[in-house]
């Protein structure tokens, strides 16, 4: 359903490339960016990891520097080793190319492959022929390698090349100073991780065109340092441009006379659907309490003791001063005493409502009225 990462699974059968030794990290790392799959990238990276193992074996015999800074080494073996490494890396590049091209089904890619193969062939020749120079600048082999990489990636060759060369130069300086200082072990892996960091800064700029080996002509010159301008120009495209011109702001904003109708079933159900959009499981206990409060199951904070209790709007004096209901009873005598006790008790009763208290008194009135003959016998007056 969703284009998951597992969509890359069909590319698994690509065989891993057992031998490929490391060399120019820059090339590898930039190659890691292409739209090819995670799998392919990791193939390359893995190969590099293998190389780091091989390399560390030679640590005791050579100064511990990374593979690129060859001219600072005096050892022949290291130099040859690294030259071999570079060749192998370019071989790896070639294979990398073929896998990338396999995935993108474009006829132009085949042409590309041929051209890159030609470049690689010429590069190998130059490497074998080039004498080893001991200069502070980047060696020509590296320059050739860098330009081959830039050619391959085919976008903004100048910036890529200069970036690569700059990186290489930086590494040379770093390794040189460190070598002059103590013999710290600059493991290849650290360089890789540093490179990785740098890559993500530069890679972001270059990531987008990599997905399209065919590049749009219009934006060719804009890539590189001018991403922001590109974005701004596109923003103009999204927000400014032709519209449908069917509705006009004036007519739309004038309020039609609204007739108040009860919301129909459609509206109610639509509102329910909208409420469901935002439904998520509760995140903490307070959210649960909020939901209960909304449903009416929980008291509202701050707690009001009389929440929900209205008492028919009667005041305290109606509860306490019940004398006015004794108007119909005799003013003196045992009945009066009794009724005053009754009202005293009722005034202290917090559980009855005013109406219920009046009903009590009414009941007594009826009762005494009914029992008049008994009262007459006892001689109590009841007027």
């Amino acid at each position: 359903m969703f284009p998951r990462v597992s969509a890359i699974l069909p590319l698994r059968p690509l065989s891993r490339f057992p031998l490929c030794s490391g060399g120019s990290e820059a090339a590898i790392v930039l190659l890691g960016a292409p739209h090819g799959t995670v799998r392919t990238k990791n193939n390359v990276q893995r190969n590099f990891g293998t190389n780091s193992v091989n390399y560390s074996k030679k640590d005791e015999q050579s100064a511990p520097t990374h593979g690129i800074s060859k001219e600072t080494e005096s050892q022949e073996s290291v130099k040859e080793n690294t030259k071999k490494d570079l060749l192998d890396i370019i071989k790896g590049m070639k294979i990398e190319l073929s896998t990338v091209n396999v995935q993108t089904t474009k006829p132009s890619s085949r042409r590309q492959r041929k051209s890159v193969e030609a470049t690689i062939g010429s590069l190998q020749k130059t490497l074998e022929d080039a004498p080893k120079k001991r200069t502070k600048s980047v060696s020509p082999e590296l320059e050739a390698a860098a330009s081959a990489v830039a050619d391959f990636l085919r976008f903004d060759k100048q910036t890529t090349k200069s970036e690569l060369l700059r990186q290489l130069q930086q590494h040379e300086e770093v390794s040189k100073t460190q070598k002059d200082g103590e013999r710290t072990k600059i493991s290849v892996s650290n360089i890789i991780s540093d490179m990785k960091v740098a890559k993500s800064a530069t890679g972001r700029v270059s990531t987008r065109p990599v997905h399209q080996i065919q590049f749009d002509e219009g934006t060719d010159s804009l890539m590189g340092q001018k991403t922001d301008d590109l974005k701004k120009s596109l923003r103009k495209n999204m927000l400014k441009g032709k519209r449908l011109n069917i509705f006009y702001l004036k007519t739309v904003t004038e309020e039609a006379p609204k007739t108040e109708t009860a919301p129909s079933l459609w509206d109610v159900e639509f509102a329910k659907q909208l409420a469901m959009v935002n439904e998520q499981p509760l995140q903490n206990g307070f959210a649960e309490m909020i939901q209960w409060t909304k449903e009416g199951k929980l008291w509202e904070f701050p707690i009001d003791n009389e929440a929900g209790f209205d008492d028919d709007g009667s005041e305290f004096h109606e509860h306490v001063f019940l004398d006015k209901h004794l108007k119909d009873f005799p003013k003196q005598g045992p009945i009066r005493h009794f009724m005053e006790l009754v009202t005293c008790g009722l005034s202290k009763n917090p559980y009855l409502s005013v109406k219920q208290k009046i009903e009590h008194i009414e009941w007594f009135r009826n009762y005494f009225n009914e029992k008049q003959d008994i009262l007459k016998e006892s001689g109590i007056r009841l007027n």
Binding site: P3, H35, G49, V53, R243, F247, S264, T293
Partner: protein, 587 residues
């Protein structure tokens, strides 16, 4: 002392007139002389303006919301919705889903029992009364044949009963009022002449989503799509019959019929009914127009250009009838345009600009449709559009409220695009938008949330420094989502690149917890990474322990399956690791 304070308060509040506590008693009651001059001053000035601020009324949940805002997510704990018991904390996404469903179904079962036997649950001891805990009544109370009975049945959403009641009323000769007939039509059209389903919304929303996507793919085969929709509009069903029987029809009747027809995919009839509406010189409302736009877009056997022209026609009629378009209008247009693929890009942008020009603020669903249109199925033919950057620029820092049912699909598609473009900063932007205000609620249901976070984490593994990735790993897993084995493999490869293979035993332990014990591809990956290189001795020991663990899982798996499946690579790697750690015996 309280008396003294009260007097002082009295004095200040009743500044104008001499309060009951005059000056002398104050002096008597407190000895501190510092306060006396103040009192005097107050008396001397006499009139004191007291500005009583307006009383603030707080929402009933204000206190709780304030408290809730102080609590952040605990990354080491399971989500709050689960019981905090080791046995009841889920260890995979399947388990978490089933636990939540179990909880919800328990509530539903309890409610069902209370509602089916209301006479046993009448005692109400809650003070004040809690209405939602009392049993509800689902059976109609009014038994006689009258319009009130019909209205009650409509309110209770009993489709068949209301239709029967309506027929009985007609047979009895009483006329049913227009409003009641309209509400009956509403009921029939909304539910398509079937009873409203009683599934809980989990299953419902999933079903409708799957149907929606299946329908998109099967656009060329209308018959198949029709069969997949459960609820079809049968011709001559009750709604049409009642519609024909109604003596007078107003625009509401027509509108609701059209909407019902479109909802249940009787598109041609809907359009015909619309022409009838126009013939009767009635006006349709904005919802009807939305439905009609959907109808024109879904009708098969037409080229996209024709459909687009039809839609424009409808819009022009809408403007002519002075019907205001709303957000749903434009969202429906965009939703239909995304089916047109390449052709739809230019009209979509035009529609978007129109929407903004009129002043209707686009919702997240709008942007979701735009993203789907421009990044459809990750085609690599032409250059990828850069519209996602514009969209994110527009949206950063804004808070949203739900305005369209499809709003919760935005984040998933945005993250899919970020992952496709391999752009980590954009992904951070999207994630930042998710975390502003209440936007996290738009992440959608479980599977969408898992998809979003899987993509995000894979992108992190790919592009970010390993330390930051490991921090995100601790943050997100397992409290937010459970990783699939592919995600863990991505993480392992990232570790490999950064040469931090010592974390592998930890990851193996974690993945055992998440139920990946028997995923052979993950185990192969781990073993291969460990066996590939030489490592310092203590690391070897750890690796060998890990390998022993994996070996034991292979062995226990044998018990389950008939033929043991020990991939050759794993055996290789395990042997190598044991040898290196000096456990030659086990090797």
């Amino acid at each position: 002392r309280w008396l003294r304070f009260r007097c002082k308060v009295c004095l200040t509040l009743t500044g104008q007139r001499a309060g009951p506590c005059g000056q002398a008693p104050n002096c008597r009651f407190y000895s501190g002389s510092a306060t006396v001059p103040k009192v005097e001053r107050a008396n001397v000035t006499g009139i004191e303006e007291v500005v009583i601020p307006r009383k603030k009324t707080w929402d009933k949940v204000a206190v709780l919301q304030a408290l809730a805002s102080t609590v952040n997510r605990d990354t080491t704990a399971a989500p709050y919705a689960f019981q905090d018991d080791p046995y009841l904390i889920p260890t995979s996404s399947l388990e978490s889903r089933s636990f939540l469903l179990a909880k919800k179904s328990g509530e539903n079962a309890a409610k069902y029992i209370i509602n089916s036997h209301p006479k046993y649950f009448q005692k109400d001891i809650a003070e004040p009364h809690i209405p939602c805990l009392m049993p509800e009544y689902f059976e109609p109370q009014i038994e006689d044949i009258s319009e009130a009975a019909l209205r009650e049945r409509i309110k209770l959403k009993k489709v068949k009963a209301s239709v029967d009641m309506f027929d009985q009323l007609l047979q009895a000769g009483t006329t049913v009022s227009l409003e009641t007939s309209n509400s009956l039509l509403d009921l029939l059209c909304y539910y398509g002449d079937k009873e409203p389903s009683t599934d809980n919304h989990f299953q419902q929303s999933e079903k409708s989503e799957e149907l929606e996507e299946a329908a998109e793919e099967n656009n060329e085969k209308p018959k198949k799509a029709n069969h997949q929709f459960g609820n079809l509009w049968r011709p001559e069903n009750n709604a049409e019959r009642i519609f024909a029987l109604m003596p007078e029809k107003n625009s509401h009747s027509y509108c609701t019929m059209i909407r019902g027809m479109v909802k249940h995919r009787a598109l041609v009839q809907a359009l015909n009914l619309y022409t009838e509406l126009l013939n009767n010189k009635l006006h349709a409302d904005v919802y009807t127009f939305n439905a009609l736009i959907e109808a024109t877009a879904l009708s098969a056997h037409e080229k996209p250009e024709d459909k687009w022209n039809n839609i424009l026609e409808l819009l022009k009629q809408m403007a002519a009838q002075k019907v205001k378009p709303n957000l749903q209008t434009f969202n429906t247009i965009l939703k239909c345009l995304r089916r047109f693929h390449a052709f739809g890009k230019v009209p979509a942008l035009q529609t978007f600009r129109e929407m903004k020009a009129i002043g209707i603020e686009p919702s997240l669903a709008t942007y979701h449709y735009l993203i789907q249109l421009f990044y459809h199925h990750e085609n690599h033919s032409k250059g990828s559009s850069l519209i996602i950057y514009d969209i994110m620029n527009e949206l950063t820092g804004r808070k949203f409220s739900p305005r369209d049912p499809d709003d919760d699909m935005f984040f998933q598609s945005a993250m899919r695009v970020c992952s496709f473009l391999r752009d980590l900063e954009l992904a951070y932007q999207v994630h930042g938008l998710l975390n502003t205000g209440d936007n996290w609620k738009f992440i959608g249901p479980d599977h969408r949330r898992n998809f979003y976070y899987s993509k995000f984490f894979s992108l992190l593994c790919l592009m970010e420094q390993i330390d930051v990735t490991l921090k995100w790993y601790k943050d997100l897993i397992p409290s937010v989502f459970f990783p699939r084995s592919q995600t863990l493999i991505d993480l392992l490869q990232a570790l490999d690149v950064a040469n931090r293979l010592e974390v592998i035993p930890q990851i193996w332990k974690d993945s055992k917890e998440y139920g990946h014990t028997f995923r052979s591809d993950l185990k192969e990956e781990i073993l291969m990474l460990m066996a590939r290189d030489q490592h310092p001795p203590e690391l070897q020991v750890a690796f060998a322990n890990c390998a022993a663990d994996i070996k034991s899982t292979y062995e226990s798996q044998d018990g389950r399956q008939a033929a043991p499946e020990w991939p050759a690579n794993s055996l290789n790697s395990i042997a190598v690791l044991f040898l290196r750690a000096g456990r030659t015996q086990e090797a």
